[in-house]
Symmetry: C2
Subunit: 443 residues, 2 copies
């Protein structure tokens, strides 16, 4: 049997994606620091045969500490713990190419891939924002184009390092006294604009060779980067038409870059709010929005829009004179998405905050399990998605109901796997294991 | 009961500290990449009530790949996995202040401390050698004094970041909608010669506040650094007299720096080779030395001594005209130790290689369990050590026999704990939990 094509990733986010989810009576406001809490979530997702779990990240304390659980365990550390609590599900960590060294980061992902038996993924981000820059000796962030240029070279270096050991380098010949063959391990001698790295990596090649490479930027630079490097793309899409256009655009760019478009999986975010009736789902959604403290959200929105908070009146639309995307130096696509959402639906600031509070720009869908499954199938069959990045508004309850109510429907319809077909994350996503660029050259 | 004062750390090193240990019939030459292998070692050490396990590290592929298992899992990743397989033993990872950013590294150690429930330790190294430098865009390593200057400022920054959240910052007040109190989390605004870091850390304060700070450099700069920052010192000492002098020297420096010398534990390395008779132990040691491939070792020795390999004749003493310690820019104390060992005992190059192959400069002791316990007690009572960094020549067998034969003797003599008295690594070493420098200032 060919494995069904739909892919599901669980976006882990403390008590859920809705900013007020932590205020619900059953929510654990300390779960973000608890391994046991994350283990429970990962096991539910693995029992439901999700492809992967995913952790967003930024090397900065983001937002306001009063608003919701803030501060996070470093993703490669947290996912290593989850690797030992699970056996099949993929483990995708976000890490920045702007604020890391390729040698250290390539090694850490290779380590996670070894520890997990080939289940590591890397969500590659260039990290927007001056606040992050100020944690690393800079006054302000490098320009968008420069961050992506560095990211591209960072990936070249990382791939060379992951190829610096041949798969068969270790011979462990006790008789001869040769542990690894010296001619199967080589320096990379990379010399570029941003990096000079000698290598080799101080770690043999890992089960997947490279972690699955994931990307989430939807700007022009972001889409070009995705076309060259990404094997899965997380994206925020509000409408089917926009999602289809984005899907076709990225697949075309991948084809133009000489890659098989089937090896770039497009996964829009989906915030399901599930009830036994549509009305019950909508009521749960409204109850969450009622718990939002609007002052936090207004301040954050003003920061994203680069305007003074006093110009945002809760019961009026956004001001007319906002910057254009070209003037924004980070998170460009997110900026445009928010402004277009507000204008398309003529939302007041308070209404916009409600929409962003739930999904932070991702598509929120409140309905019955059947309705959620219908939406997923519709987008999948219409060529808008290869699968979804599932972002429950409330955790763990939103995951539990998705796993127990929605996943079986998708399985019955033949859209989603009933069992894993291989041990690695590449197996789950149907991605090839990268050939070794240096071993090939030697043939 | 006051806990007995002797401390034992297990230095994990694939198949053992002897370079030829991997060639023994029972050794697992793939163990260095296996979590299960390391879990087994950590559990044996925990059952024996060791204070901690420890991983050395350097961001470079060190030595020759044929000689022994090479390439390592990144220590914070590996120890996170071990944190989930154990519940009490401390977990000490080596990381470089020269080739990391303080923000990222401070966060990773705080994450390990959260994940392990307060069992993290950081062995702070400045990373000698041009090969490592070339993995990070440099032609050659920064000067010794500059590396230590950077390390000192790195520690200042890390401590400020670990103090950027008050212990009671998280209030999780669902009613008010306040997760953490904004005035208990603050930027650090560090501006120094090597670093400008705004903060705060994106992670609440961890169980131990700071990981236990460990240091292993024995140069003058290294000892000064230890006196200012270290809470445990790993050191290589060949004779009781030298060990006593080192012990007194570091304790004096700590006192002069205004610290309680009892809060700086001195742990010399000890390579026990244990047999049921002394003759059996010596035979096992000789068998290991017979498995050394001298060509590997000669090349490595030449590199350490900064001489051409052709000048080292296996059956003659070291050449007379070697560089002085002042001319060495890294691993100064190790260089001097090797040269002094060879000269003091009039060793040929072959004999020296045998000594270094077993302990790499650390004290090797072959004998019965009773004799090993006697040596430990003697050094401890003579004021040469607060405990030992145990480096079994062969793993896991050397650890198993130490745990089952030597530890019970030390326990019977009242020198070593029979049970852990607290949950954290600071509890095991009898070290205080650091006060928050900012919260104190606010009083």
């Amino acid at each position: 049997m060919t494995p069904p094509g739909l892919h599901l990733n669980l976006f882990l986010h403390d008590t859920g994606h809705h900013e007020a989810s932590w205020r619900l009576p059953d929510s654990d406001p300390h779960g973000h620091l608890s391994i046991e809490y994350h283990e429970r979530l990962a096991r539910i997702a693995e029992d439901a045969k999700f492809d992967s779990v995913f952790l967003a990240d930024s090397p900065v304390l983001w937002g306001q500490v009063g608003r919701r659980p803030s501060g996070k365990l470093e993703p490669t550390v947290l996912l290593t713990a989850l690797a030992r609590a699970t056996s099949r599900i993929g483990l995708i960590a976000t890490a920045s190419t702007t604020y890391n060294d390729p040698f250290n980061l390539a090694r850490r992902f290779a380590s996670l891939d070894h520890v997990s038996g080939g289940r590591a993924g890397w969500n590659i981000v260039t990290t927007a924002g001056d606040d992050a820059a100020r944690n690393f000796g800079l006054e302000s962030q490098p320009a968008h184009v420069e961050r992506y240029e560095r990211a591209d070279e960072f990936l070249q270096v990382a791939k060379k390092l992951w190829d610096s050991w041949d798969d068969d380098a270790i011979v462990a010949d006790k008789e001869r006294g040769v542990h690894a063959e010296a001619d199967r391990v080589r320096p990379i001698d990379h010399e570029g604009k941003h990096f000079r790295v000698r290598g080799p990596l101080n770690l043999p090649r890992s089960p997947q060779a490279y972690p699955v490479l994931v990307q989430a930027g939807s700007s022009e630079d972001g889409k070009d980067f995705a076309a060259r490097h990404a094997e899965a793309v997380f994206t925020a899409q509000q409408t089917l038409a926009e999602a289809k256009a984005f899907y076709a655009d990225v697949k075309d760019r991948a084809r133009a870059a000489g890659r098989d478009p089937d090896h770039v999986k497009i996964l829009p975010g989906l915030v399901p709010v599930i009830g036994s009736t549509e009305a019950e789902a909508r009521a749960a959604d409204a109850e969450l929005d009622r718990l939002i403290v609007p002052e936090y959200a207004r301040e954050q929105l003003a920061k994203t829009l680069r305007v003074d908070p006093s110009t945002l009146h809760l019961d009026r639309p956004l001001p007319a004179d906002l910057p254009t995307e070209d003037e924004i130096e980070g998170a460009k696509s997110r900026y445009t998405l928010i402004v277009e959402l507000a204008r398309r639906e003529s939302l007041t600031v308070r209404e916009l905050i409600g929409r962003l509070g739930g999904g932070r720009g991702h598509k929120t869908f409140a309905g019955t399990p059947e309705q959620v499954a219908d939406t997923i199938e519709h987008w999948y069959r219409e060529g808008a998605a290869d699968g979804f990045n599932i972002m429950p508004a409330v955790l763990p309850s939103g995951l539990e109901v998705f796993a127990s109510e929605v996943v079986p429907i998708l399985q019955r319809r033949g859209l989603f796997r009933r069992e894993y077909t291989g041990p690695t994350l590449r197996d789950h996503y149907g991605l090839p294991r990268p050939a070794n660029q240096f071993a090939l050259a030697a043939v």
